[in-house]
Amino acid sequence: MMWLSPETMLQLSIVLPVLATAGIIAAGSYPNIREAISITAGLLLLYLVVNLYMALDNGAIVSVLWLEPLPGLAIKFRIEALGVMFSLIAGFLWPVTTIYSIGYMRAHNEPHQTRFYACFAIAITCVMGVAYADNLFTLFVFYEFLTLSTYPLVTHAGTEKARQGGRVYLGLLLGTSIVFFLLAIIGTWLLAGTLDFVHGGVFGNEPSSYVLGVLLVLFVFGIGKAAIMPFHRWLPAAMVAPTPVSALLHAVAVVKAGVFTLLKVVVFIFGIDLVGILPTTQGLLYLAGASVLLASLIAMRQDNLKARLAYSTISQLNYITIGALLATGTSLTGSAMHIVMHAFGKITLFFCAGAILTAAHQTEISRMQGLGRQMPITMTAFFIGSLSIIGVPPTGGSWSKWYLMMATLETGQWILMAVLMLSALLNVAYLLPIPIRAFLPAKSAQTFSTGIKEAPLLSLIALSITALGCVALFLFPQSLHELVNAILNAPGLNHGP
């Protein structure tokens, strides 16, 4: 796309989904045109982010200033390796999810589909804004609007249960971000005089390590989307949403926006050297470790498939938090890669959960035994997704978990290493029985009527794409690895040895 400058592409990738919203609303009464607009916008967005990736690859420095509402606080964007990685995931998975949604939403005859697709597109704009934000202020603005734009999606059903879920969702996410995150941002502003993302951090030697330690705690708790305990309840609450929402937003976009923000803060606000020596880091690491284990344990006790996946997500997000707080090159590589790997694995699992709901009308795991015969593709995809979450070859999850494990060894965090190993076992215990029982049911299991067939074709295509993605990420991790390595280096990508 030589006829567009990278700056234009950067702005377009943020504005495009909102423009699509206008089209979606205008075409509200023509579902086919409406969905065509969604998919076209998704593909265009993917095209744009791939081009931005290549621009970054060529060492281009692309930045855009929109406006400056308060002196020194600007809405400013810049492409940088971590952001490009995040936008690539969102850009790739948005059209895939749209394809899936068409199958799912139509099979369920869901009401208010126009509102659904419109809010979805707005949420994607917010994700792009978070990904490309060049300072904490811009990031915070889009972070907040991501919460608000996904609220109508979470409460889509409009029932009492949806309303309750929406309350917890909004209460915890807005609550943590207003009380802790905003306080941390204003504190940063006063201590450092800037909110820009700078390699190696913005604090000089002046602030005492105790103040900065408190600030780090505020950041970790404030970024509620990263779901560290005890601020994790919003994620299970959000599961009242239709499955495509849970898939893209609560396995990929929203939760990853949380850990992405955390990584940004660690690398570009504190700097990794500083995080390592702050007095509160160790405590936060243990808290994240405890969250990993507890969430896994709770996941084991859930019979509702989506609830189990939600707790599994909490557990996996805290892996990324651990990697961010360990703050070494290896751990950050692991964390950044895990954002991608978990995204592909978990979205596959959610797609499968939705497919099972559509085809067999089952939400409880205990009633899915023997479903493999009727739904072989779905259950195979579920198996692959589970392997990737657990971190077993030949799936992408094995790379990120490898790096995270190495990082705990390098830093001598034996307890955390034990936590990670134990959690891997728990992952096996709560995920693998589902596909295994589906193919090899216990004798006492109910038999399904032969009328059950696979989910709608569009949904199957989507979940096959993401399942294959898990495998592809195992086989070809090189470019991802290069991208991730570039995070810690100077702006732009370096093709070092």
């Binding site: 509402p69 807005l174 204003i186």
Partner: protein, 492 residues
């Protein structure tokens, strides 16, 4: 002509009020009042420009020079206040022709405009004058006309609310008058600038302390600082919606202005904060006000009362701002004066639209309105987000400066209190949102339609202003920064 702008500011609405009585029909009265208010707005814009370009304007009434004659002294702070009051009043007047039809008996419409203009003249007079006794006179003009405005409501409880306000307001005015009297005894002058020169000589006397205390308490009654706020929720809830919007957006602001003027210009920061434990008192009261009033708002069933208690909490933010005692804090107060006027103006006008269509503003009346009145409800959501302080709205600008000012002092716990206050705002705003978007409409509400454009346009003017001034803060931040520097005696 241009030299007479400061007095015209007050004269125009004051003269327009009795003329209203001679006009027929009501539509003409409305148009006349609107034109008067719009003229005042233009004058205030011109004044602000003059002040920005050439500094403080001094106008001597009748050519008698101060301190013998009455002097109007317009500096940046006065001009800023005049702009807020006249702008909000004009936008509200745009909507009144429609909104009072359902809330007032037809024969009272003319009186409404008379009282409205008198109230406006009083508020503008307080903000324009440089004479202490003039402040008291205009305070009474605005107060008496607002008692009448509140009592005009169809609801009989409005009478009781107005009576309550009358009693409390009169006590407040008496305190203020005692304060003024004592100051006059000690210094022999009523000119504020003159006072500020002469007070330091006598500032150690017990009489001045007493004068200060009486005056501050009186003003705090007027601005409904917790725990002197008891009159406010009923007055706001039972007054006609346009009146509530006017009082919420301008009357409390003017009282805050008087407080700022006295603490910073007349008595000086040194006296107010060092000789007098004002900082501790205000800090405790404002924080208690923020938390208690916000919590009370959560438990209200009447949406106007929810917003009324929210106003009490917001007054807490304003008082908290300048009691921090640094220029950044004062700046936060000044920003919030402007920003809160925009938020509450928009919210009360939107609530007025609901009143017009549904006939009630209980939470149950809002059920299902998200579908029936989408534009009105969208206005409430955006106004509510601004009240919460979501980025890119004016509410965020005030909150940012307030928290930054508090942290500059190193008061981390206070910052947490402020932010918890916004969380409480999330809860009470979301009760309205949930009622509007999640509940099915009551059987009687099935036929409700969107509000007429004559209500929607003024509402949305303020809603757009909420966003515009959240994005382009050059005007508000620039002016309040200059004012803060001026009042703290540092040259800008």
């Amino acid at each position: 002509m241009l030299t007479h702008l400061p007095i015209l500011q007050v004269i125009v609405p004051l003269m327009a009020a009795p003329i209203c009585l001679m006009l027929r029909p009501v539509r003409l009265v409305w148009l006349f009042a609107l034109i008067a208010s719009a003229m005042v707005f233009l004058i205030s814009v011109a004044l602000l420009q003059q002040v920005v370009q050439s500094g403080t304007i001094i106008y001597e009434i009748g050519g008698w020079s101060a301190p013998w004659g009455i002097e109007y002294r317009i500096d940046l702070l006065n001009a800023y206040l005049l702009l807020i009051i006249s702008a909000i009043s004009t936008v509200i007047l745009l909507s009144t022709h429609t909104s009072i039809q359902s809330e007032l008996a037809a024969e009272r419409h003319t009186f409404f405009y008379v009282a409205y203009l008198l109230c406006l003249a009083g508020l503008l007079g307080i903000a324009a004058t440089g004479d202490l006794f003039n402040v008291f006179v205009f305070l009474e003009i605005s107060a008496l006309s607002s008692y009448a405005l509140i009592a005009l409501g169809n609801n009989r409880r409005a009478l009781w609310a107005s009576y309550q306000y009358l009693i409390m307001g009169t006590i407040g005015a008496t305190f203020i008058l005692i304060g003024i009297g004592l100051m006059y005894v000690m210094t022999g002058t009523l000119n504020m600038y003159d006072l500020s020169q002469r007070l330091p000589e006598v500032s150690d006397s017990r009489t001045v302390f007493t004068a200060f205390a009486f005056f501050i308490v009186g003003v705090c009654l007027k601005l409904a600082l917790f725990p002197l706020h008891m009159w406010l929720p009923n007055a706001y809830a039972y007054a006609p919606s346009a009146v509530t919007a006017l009082l919420a957006a301008t009357a409390t602001k003017v009282a805050v202005y008087i407080l700022i003027r006295f603490i910073f210009s007349v008595f000086g920061v040194e006296f107010s904060f060092s000789h007098f434990p004002l900082q501790d008192i205000f800090l405790v009261l404002s924080l208690a006000g923020i938390l208690i009033a916000s919590t009370t708002a959560i438990f209200q069933q009447n949406v106007k009362r929810i917003l009324a208690y929210s106003s009490v909490a917001q007054v807490g933010y304003m008082i908290l701002g300048f009691s921090i005692g640094n220029p950044a804090g004062l700046m936060a107060t000044l920003l919030h004066l402007f920003n809160h006027a925009l938020m509450k103006g928009a919210l009360f006008l939107a609530v007025g639209a609901v009143m017009y269509r549904v006939g009630g503003v209980q939470l149950s009346d809002f059920a299902g309105l998200g579908k029936r009145m989408p534009w009105t409800m969208a206005a409430i959501v955006i106004g509510g987000l601004s009240l919460i302080g979501v980025p890119l709205t004016v509410g965020f600008v005030s909150k940012w400066y307030l928290v930054a000012a508090v942290l500059e002092r190193g008061w981390w716990p206070v910052a947490v209190f402020i932010l918890v206050g916004s969380l409480l705002a999330v809860i009470y705003i979301w009760r309205i949102v949930e009622a509007a978007y999640f509940q099915l409409p009551a059987p009687g509400n099935a036929e409700v339609r969107e509000a007429p454009l004559s209500l929607l346009i003024p509402t949305w003017m303020l809603v757009v202003a909420n966003i515009y001034f959240g994005l382009d803060t050059r005007l508000t931040v620039g002016i309040s920064e200059s004012i803060a520097k001026m009042l703290f005696g540092v040259e800008p």
